[in-house]
């Protein structure tokens, strides 16, 4: 599309546009149904924080109209339960037969869930754990690739990262000077359909899409000076580095 309208405006014209925009500002309060929904979610978050079972999973309220997102929620909720031991077990059991599947098939939570083989309706820790972690990624070797996006929790971030990335060889951790340019939002999307990170951090390293407590994040893989495998977790919403982990540290 040609963009002749990108030409500069006169001060008067610009003021006129700005007046129109200001006049179109929304001045009403949050609609009652949205306010009630937000309060429900806050209540769930508080219960979750207090260690009480939530009446309804938090993100289910946000995504109840979308089956795909609802499935993602089940996976994420269950991932909390299976973090740690379950993750390592499932990864070590991942077979190379998955290598023929497309990346999107392997990364799509719906497909992963349905392919877990448990035959359940979803939501059990066993099913979700396996569906979250089986499969591969664009990393070097099919056997070494965790399913993307990674599902992590802030409570066990370092342990979960080590478990999820344990089989990934050092070749997938580029030295900062040799690292490819940071992935764009679209590239992250191509690795994990449905994953959104509006403004991926400009970090040297290989970026993997991830969710931390259901919030979008990226994991940047780099090699340290001594070849150690380093992973930085950066929150997409705030750009904050949530944790830096030396995966090879004892």
């Amino acid at each position: 599309m040609s963009e002749p309208t990108d030409s500069p405006l006169s001060p008067e014209q610009e003021s006129a546009v700005r007046r129109e925009l200001a006049a179109a500002r929304h001045r009403g309060p949050v609609p009652d149904d949205v306010a009630a929904r937000l309060d429900d979610v806050l209540a769930s978050l508080s219960r979750e924080r207090a260690g009480e079972p939530a009446a309804a999973p938090v993100t289910d309220v946000a995504t109840r109209r979308r089956r795909r997102d609802a499935t993602r929620l089940l996976l994420a909720a269950a991932a909390v339960v299976v973090a740690g031991v379950g993750i390592g077990q499932v990864i070590s059991g991942g077979g190379s037969d998955d290598s023929s599947a497309s990346l999107s098939e392997r990364a799509d939570p719906d497909r992963a869930g349905s392919g877990s083989g448990s035959g359940g309706s979803g939501g059990s820790s066993d099913e979700s754990g396996s569906s979250t972690l089986q499969g591969g990624s664009a990393l070097a070797a099919p056997d070494s690739a965790p399913a993307l996006p990674l599902r992590l929790t802030s409570a066990g971030l370092a342990e979960e990262l080590r478990a999820a990335l344990q089989p990934v060889p050092g070749a997938d951790f580029p030295a900062p000077a040799e690292a490819p340019p940071s992935a764009s939002a679209d590239e992250l999307l191509s690795e994990a359909p449905g994953f959104t990170c509006t403004d991926p951090p400009s970090t040297a390293g290989r970026l993997l899409p991830a969710y931390v407590d259901d919030a979008p994040a990226v994991v940047s893989l780099t090699a340290g000076d001594d070849g150690e495998r380093l992973a930085d977790v950066v929150d997409c919403a705030t750009g904050e580095t949530l944790q830096s982990v030396d995966l090879d540290a004892p």
């Binding site: 610009e14 109209r65 919403a237 750009g239």
Partner: protein
Amino acid sequence: MSDQDGQPDDSSDDRSDAELLRAHVEGDPDAFGVLFRRHRDRLWAVALRTTGNPEDAADGLQDGMVAAYRRAGSFRGEAAVTTWLHRVVVNACLDRLRAAKVRRADPLPDDLDDWGDRGSSVTATAEAADPADLAVSDERRRVVLDALAQLPAEQRAALVLVDMEGYPVADVAVMLDCAVGTVKSRCSRARARLAPLLGVLRPGGDPDHLPPRNHDAARPVGPVDGSRAPPGAGADQP
């Protein structure tokens, strides 16, 4: 601690935003709710205008709220709490828009029935999606919102925050996690795109008389000497 509508009554809590956020991080179960309810009307306005429809706005606002709740510990106090809240919510809204864009390109969506009546800022007009605007039946607002929906999401977000909500460019730069100059550039480009849609480029163009919906084609404007920066902004406009 609820009023007659069942909504919590936060009016008696006179803690500052920063105090509330700190209390939340330290375990106060009610502090975040007080903080978010204090600002959610304005956050809603930003989400609504950024996404262009109430469904995506509600989702984006909720996504942002959940992210802020869980990421409160990462707030470093380098900006105002409200600025940080806006940043998280706007990012969540932009993420929603990006996801919607990808879903539209999906050849075989698995949720076609749900998608049919779901809004999208790019395809849905604000008049069809915003009940509040329907009730007001404001022709000018309708034209402005339609024009706004034609902007790229990042330009729209900048314009909503600067020109609609009136935030300082420096604060918006923090909210959008970009340089001040980038905010100015996005706003300038966005205004230039909107100008023909709002009829201000026509000879003797009077914004008080907006053009019909089959607006004039965009026409270039010659260079001018005047600053294009927002009021109060610096002179580093590219």
